[in-house]
């Protein structure tokens, strides 16, 4: 701490703001949190923040005299513009040591150039578009990538589920097209025959799914692989699936883990029983780490809302923050922080995870999840585990990670 012995103002000012006597090494690390606390993803953002706070509460003692303070900002709509402005404000005005958040891919994409310029570590809580970590050397992703979730389900569908023919259906916006490309790549590489790829309307309004499902039914594939962005879409999809009797027609439902997000699974109703999805977390995961996490969650926030993959993404993002603060002993430097996270391994509630030293992206298990009846409600049975999946998009240099990628420098 800089002191001017001739000045009598400084001690007084310190007293006035309650800083007290300057202590030896106690540093408070300021973490800027940028998430859409209002708007259509408000529930998700709240769940992520709560998970961060829960991790802090459970692990505070490990900080050894240092502390972490969260400065929360609402990034509202998914355009990326607000997130970018907030990133600047947090760095320039609030002088944060690092950034955590970015729900929607555009939020992270728009903020990446400034993150590089400002040299601040940015930990992605969601933003699943595969190529994002390539946009800045200071971005580290603790969530998942759309290719990571989708691509391995292609070979799985062919080899284990007997899907000789399949159709991919997706909501027609960037993440949906990403998922469709990833499934096509993984599925066709494994020798499956993709009969059709169906854009099922835009993300602005829940469509009547009837014509899409009717088309699928008429094309008679063994399986469909579906991605839609939100609970409202999935609930309507489940009802139309029942109405159109696709299960009775012998068509198997596969999808991304988004479709069976734990917190909203009950809203799908019994129509979704038997659906199989591939995802990186379910609250019904049967491991000691997860049981401990879920119990702590219910104890802290009540048992009305089940944690889901978003929750655990927030939880692990905070674990990463803790790792950085502990390793650097509270003195945050972006280059050292990224170095500390490269190759970092931890046993998360979602299983063993690791940050890939090369791509700064997460390596994790993908679980094959089946919707089953559990008591009065619905739950997930993990029927298989695809271990330690690396993002295939960057690995193979395909999709928007390949040549001509927006991230190509």
């Amino acid at each position: 701490m800089r002191k001017r012995s001739t000045s009598w103002i400084m001690p007084l000012a310190l007293l006035a703001i309650g800083a007290g006597a300057p202590q030896a090494a106690a540093d408070t690390v300021k973490v800027g949190v940028i998430l859409p606390f209002s708007g259509m993803a408000a529930d998700v953002a709240q769940s992520e923040l709560r998970a961060m706070k829960l991790y802090y509460k459970l692990h505070k003692a490990e900080l050894g005299g240092n502390d972490i303070t969260l400065i929360e900002r609402d990034s509202k709509e998914p355009s990326g513009a607000t997130a970018q402005t907030l990133t600047r404000e947090l760095v320039v005005q609030d002088k944060v040591d690092m950034l955590v958040g970015y729900q929607f891919s555009p939020d992270a994409i728009a903020s990446a150039p400034f993150i590089t310029q400002a040299k601040k570590l940015a930990i992605l809580v969601n933003a699943q578009s595969s190529y994002i970590p390539k946009l800045s050397p200071y971005i580290v992703r603790l969530s998942a990538s759309s290719w990571q979730i989708t691509y391995p389900m292609g070979p799985y569908a062919v080899d284990k589920l007997g899907c000789k023919t399949a159709i991919v259906g997706y909501t027609d916006f960037a993440p949906g097209r990403d998922v469709a490309a990833a499934f096509k790549a993984g599925y066709e590489k494994a020798g499956g025959k993709l009969v059709d790829s169906i854009a099922m309307g835009g993300p602005a309004q829940v469509p009547d799914f009837t014509p899409y499902l009717q088309r699928i039914k008429d094309e008679k594939p063994n399986c469909v692989y579906i991605f839609t962005p939100a609970a409202s879409f999935n609930a309507a999809l489940a009802r139309t699936w029942r109405d159109q009797k696709l299960a009775e027609a012998g068509i198997r439902f596969l999808g991304t883990g988004d479709v069976t997000q734990d917190s909203v699974l009950p809203q799908l109703g019994d129509n979704a029983i038997g659906w199989i999805t591939g995802g990186h977390y379910t609250a019904d995961l049967n491991t000691p780490e997860n049981k401990k996490f879920v119990a702590a969650w219910y104890k802290e926030y009540g048992d009305k809302v089940k944690p889901d993959f978003f929750t655990v993404q927030g939880y692990d993002a905070m674990a990463a923050v803790f790792h950085v603060v502990k390793t650097l002993k509270g003195k945050i430097d972006a280059d050292k922080a990224v170095a500390a996270l490269k190759g970092w391994k931890v046993n998360s509630p979602r299983g063993p995870i690791m940050i890939d030293a090369e791509t700064r992206d997460i390596i994790q298990n993908i679980y094959v999840q089946k919707v089953v009846k559990k008591g009065d409600s619905l739950g997930i049975e993990v029927i298989d585990t695809i271990p330690a999946v690396k993002d295939p998009c960057k690995e193979l240099g395909v999709g928007n990670c390949g040549a001509g990628s927006p991230a190509k420098k």
Binding site: A204, V206, P211, Y212, R215, S232, A236, V264, Q267
Partner: protein, 290 residues
């Protein structure tokens, strides 16, 4: 060939079911816009209210399906009367911008109230057993609920058409749509007529909202999500005509459905193409006065 026929049957049946929901939601707006000249962007909020009340009556109070549905529709119609008396009367003679500002404000408040009361998550209703079966139409099986929607839509159309064309009240409304000053001079109490029509329009919106719950689900964003479609139906049908709203709904519903079935990538595009073509040829709408 057989496949093509079957696909056509599907497109027509599902498209018509979808059309009927659009018609029921839009016809109220068409009549109130034609009669009162009010751009009522809160129409979707009344539809949403119908959906939420139906969910409450069926889910929380455990009423059977049909009485619950009817009660929700009547409740929204009744509730719209004081709203018309306190808010809408003030904007009848104001510029369109004022009307848009007030009604969009009402919509945003309705969305906030619905989020507060019901939460942002999607809600659904449990259909009675007789609507969960399948019915066969030209060799294809369809959900009975869609057939029910078509029945309700056609009944609503016939009742409205007969009411407008064959009753004194209908004649008064038509007169007021054509020339309000002249109708007043002839002794028609247009103030009461406005209230009545507004309540009818809101009740129909509520019916549309309630019918749509099982098709697309219900969230607070419902109030805005389907407003564009409803406005499209009103504009290509023409203001204040039952027949216009019916024809426009059928056109939009079937073409939209066919587009989504046959060419999913361009599905959002087809209906806008139809809108452009219709309005270029007939700026006043199919059955409207240019």
């Amino acid at each position: 060939m057989e496949h093509a026929v079957q696909a056509a049957v599907s497109i027509l049946f599902d498209g018509i079911a979808y059309s009927m929901v659009l018609f029921v939601m839009a016809v109220g707006l068409s009549v109130t816009m034609g009669l009162m000249g009010v751009i009522n962007l809160a129409h979707g909020a009344f539809a949403m209210a119908g959906g939420y009340l139906t969910v409450t009556f069926l889910g929380n109070l455990g009423l059977p399906f049909l009485p619950g549905l009817v009660l929700a529709v009547l409740a929204v119609g009744a509730a719209s009367i004081p709203i018309e008396h306190t808010l809408y009367v003030r904007i009848y003679n104001r510029p369109h911008l004022d009307q848009v500002l007030l009604t969009i404000g009402v919509t945003l408040m309705a969305i906030a109230v619905a989020t507060y009361a019901y939460g942002p998550s999607p809600l659904s209703i449990k259909l009675p057993a007789f609507l969960e079966t399948q019915v066969g139409v030209f060799g294809r099986d369809f959900p009975a609920y869609r057939a029910f929607i078509i029945g309700v839509g056609v009944l609503a159309f016939l009742a409205l058409w007969a009411g407008f064309e064959r009753t004194m009240l209908g004649a008064k409304i038509r007169a007021a749509v054509d020339n309000r000053a002249m109708a007043e001079a002839a002794g028609v109490n247009t103030t009461r007529l406005f209230t009545l029509t507004f309540a009818l329009g809101s009740a129909l919106a509520a019916l549309g909202g309630a019918l749509a719950v099982d098709l697309v689900g219900l969230t607070p964003r419902f109030a805005l999500q389907y407003l564009v479609l409803v406005l499209i139906v009103v504009s290509i049908g023409g203001f204040g005509t039952i027949m216009g709203a019916f024809a426009a709904s059928l056109m939009i519903g079937v073409i939209d459905n066919a587009g989504r079935y046959l060419y999913p990538e361009g599905s959002a595009f087809f209906i806008y193409l139809v809108v452009i073509l219709v309005l270029v040829v007939r700026p006043g709408g199919l059955f409207g006065r240019a």
